[in-house]
C-alpha cells in the first residue's frame, strides 16, 4: 500500500496540526467527556478528509490556520457519524479497536456524538463565514438523510441501484464534497473553482464508497477486521450484490438467499465469482475519472497532482 502521507504531498507536513488541534478539544471538559474525546481522537486514522480540505486550500490562498481548523471541524463531523453509526449497528469494534458504545455504552455514545456534531460547528464558526456554516449544516442534514435511507433499505433488504446511489451520495459523498468545497471557499477561490472542487469531492466520495463496498466482499477477514459480506449480513445491499441480483436467472437459489439473508458464504462466493466485482470497480473508476475531469479547470500544481493521485488510490486501495 502506498503511504497515504506520501500521496498528501504538499500538505503532508500540515496534517499533524489537525491532530494537534483535535487533541486540545478534550481539555478542560467534564472529566468523562474529556476521557472520551481523548479516546476517540487517540489514533490518527488516515485523515483523508482533512487532507482533502488542505489540498483543496492549496489551490487558492493557503491560510494555514483557517484550513487546519476547517479540516479539524470536518474530521470531527466524520468522527461523530462513526460514533453514532457504531451505536446504531451495535458494533463492538471498528478497525480492531473498541467502539465508544463498547467501552462505555450506547447512552454515552449518543451524547458524545451530539457533542461532537456541535463541536464541529464550533470549530467551523471560528472561520467567521456563514457560507461555510450553512454548508456544514446542509452537509450533516444530507448525511443523516443518507443514513436514514440506508436504514430503510436495510430493513427491507432492498435491491435498488438508484436508491444505492442516493444512499452513498448522502452518507459518504456529501462530506467529501464539503471538504473540497469548504477548502476552496476558505482559500478564497473563485466560484468556478469552488464548483469544480465540489464536483471532484462528490465523485471521489462515490468512487471511495463503491470501492469500500467491493472490499467488503473481496477482502479477507484479516484485511477487513471482520468476516467478508458483513454488509449483506446486516441486510445492506451494496453495488456488487445489486449488480449480481439484476442478472440472476429465475429460480436461482441465490434469489432466496438474498431475500432471506441466509447462506452468507455462498452469497459471498457467488459475488466473488461473478462479473459484478469488476463491473462495480469499473463504476468506481468512472467516478474517479469524473473527479479527475473536474480538476481540468486548474493549471498544473503539486496539490492538483496529489488530488489526482488520490482518485487512483481510493479505488485501488486495500486495507
Amino acid at each position: 500500500m502506498t503511504e497515504l502521507a506520501e500521496l498528501y504531498g504538499p500538505v503532508a507536513d500540515d496534517i499533524p496540526l489537525v491532530g494537534d488541534l483535535l487533541a486540545t478539544l478534550g481539555q478542560d471538559q467534564q472529566p468523562l467527556l474529556g476521557e472520551i474525546l481523548a479516546y476517540v481522537f487517540r489514533t490518527g486514522g488516515k485523515r483523508l478528509r482533512p487532507a482533502l480540505v488542505l489540498l483543496s486550500g492549496k489551490l487558492g490562498a493557503y491560510h494555514r490556520d483557517r484550513l487546519v481548523t476547517l479540516a479539524a471541524s470536518l474530521e470531527v463531523v466524520h468522527t461523530a457519524t462513526l460514533v453514532h453509526d457504531d451505536t446504531i449497528d451495535q458494533a463492538l469494534t471498528r478497525r480492531g479497536l473498541k467502539t465508544v458504545s463498547a467501552v462505555w455504552d450506547s447512552k454515552v455514545a449518543i451524547l458524545t456524538g451530539d457533542f461532537l456534531f456541535a463541536q464541529s460547528a464550533e470549530l467551523a464558526a471560528r472561520l467567521d463565514s456563514v457560507r461555510i456554516m450553512s454548508l456544514l449544516s446542509e452537509t450533516v442534514m444530507a448525511m443523516s438523510t443518507g443514513e436514514l435511507r440506508q436504514y430503510v433499505s436495510t430493513k427491507e433488504r432492498e435491491i435498488d441501484e438508484s436508491d444505492y446511489f442516493l444512499r452513498i451520495t448522502g452518507k459518504t459523498a456529501a462530506l467529501f464534497a464539503m471538504c473540497c468545497e469548504g477548502g476552496a471557499i476558505a482559500s478564497e477561490q473563485p466560484d468556478e473553482q469552488v464548483a469544480a472542487l465540489r464536483q471532484f469531492g462528490v465523485n471521489l466520495g462515490l468512487a471511495f464508497q463503491i470501492a469500500d463496498d467491493v472490499l467488503d466482499f473481496i477482502g479477507t477477514e484479516e484485511e477487513l477486521g471482520k468476516p467478508a459480506g458483513s454488509d449483506f449480513r446486516q441486510g445492506t445491499m451494496t453495488l456488487p450484490l445489486i449488480l449480481l441480483a439484476e442478472e440472476l436467472e429465475p429460480g436461482d437459489p441465490l434469489k432466496t438467499d438474498i431475500a432471506t439473508g441466509r447462506n452468507l458464504e455462498r452469497v459471498v462466493r457467488r459475488v466473488r465469482e461473478s462479473g459484478a466485482v469488476d463491473t462495480a470497480l469499473r463504476r468506481a473508476d468512472e467516478y474517479a475519472a469524473a473527479a479527475r475531469e473536474a480538476l481540468t479547470v486548474f493549471p498544473d500544481h503539486p496539490a492538483k497532482g496529489a488530488l489526482l493521485g488520490l482518485t487512483d488510490q481510493v479505488v485501488r486501495r486495500s486495507y
Copy 2:
C-alpha cells in the same frame, strides 16, 4: 392554569408562525424522514422557547421573520434533545404521546435527532450571523455536556448539590439563555441588553428546572403522565431529594433507600412530608427573582411585562 398564550401577550399572535415554519421542514424530504418530522412537530407544545426568543426580540428591533426563524431553530434544538433523551431513557411515551423510539425504533430516533440538530443550524444560518451560529454550537455543546453529567451522576446515584446545578445549567438553562440572548442579538440590541437577557434566560431556566424536579415528586400520576418519583426511580437525584438527604440523621433507613433506589413510595412520601419541597421552591423563587432583577435595565414595555409574568408562571405552574 393561566393560558400560556395569554402570558405571551405581545407575541402571542406570532407564535403560530413558528409552527407554520416547522411544518414546512418535513416537505420534500426522504419519505420516512418527512413522516417523522410531521410526527414530531404535530403538536404545538407550550412553545415556551420560541416565546422567549420573540419576547426578547420585542425589546429591540422586531424583525419578525428573522426572529420567527430563530425561534423555530431553537424549538428544533429542543425537539432534537427530547428525541435523543427519550432514546437514552428508553421512554415509550412523553406527555402521553408515543416517542419516536417507540413508534419507530432507537436507530431511527438517533438519526432523526442528528438530522434535527443539523436542521436547527440550517435555520439559524438563515439569519446570516456568525455570532448566532457560534452561540448555537456552544449552547448544544453545553447541553450535551449537561446530559453527560446527568448520566454520570445517575449511574452513581450521586447526592451533590453543586453537581446538580452544573447539570441543570447545561441541560436546561443553556437553551433558555440562548433563546433570550439570540433574540436580543437578532433584534440588534446593545451589548448591555444582550447580557441582561442572557442573565434573565439562565435564571429563568434554573427556576424552571427546579420547579420541574419538584413537580416530579409532588405531582399526581394523572398530572405527570407517569408515577411520581420517576427521576429517582431512574437514579437521578434532584434538588428536593438532595436537600432531604443532606439533613437525614445517621441510621435513617431512607439513606439505604436512596443508595439502593428501593422503596420508591416511601422516598416520595418522605420528600413530600419534609421541608425539602418548600426549600427547593424557595430556591426556584430566588432564581426567578434574579431573572426579574436582570430586566431592570429595560424600561416598561409589554414584552418586559410578559417576561416578568413568565418568572412566576414557571415556578408556580402545574401540568
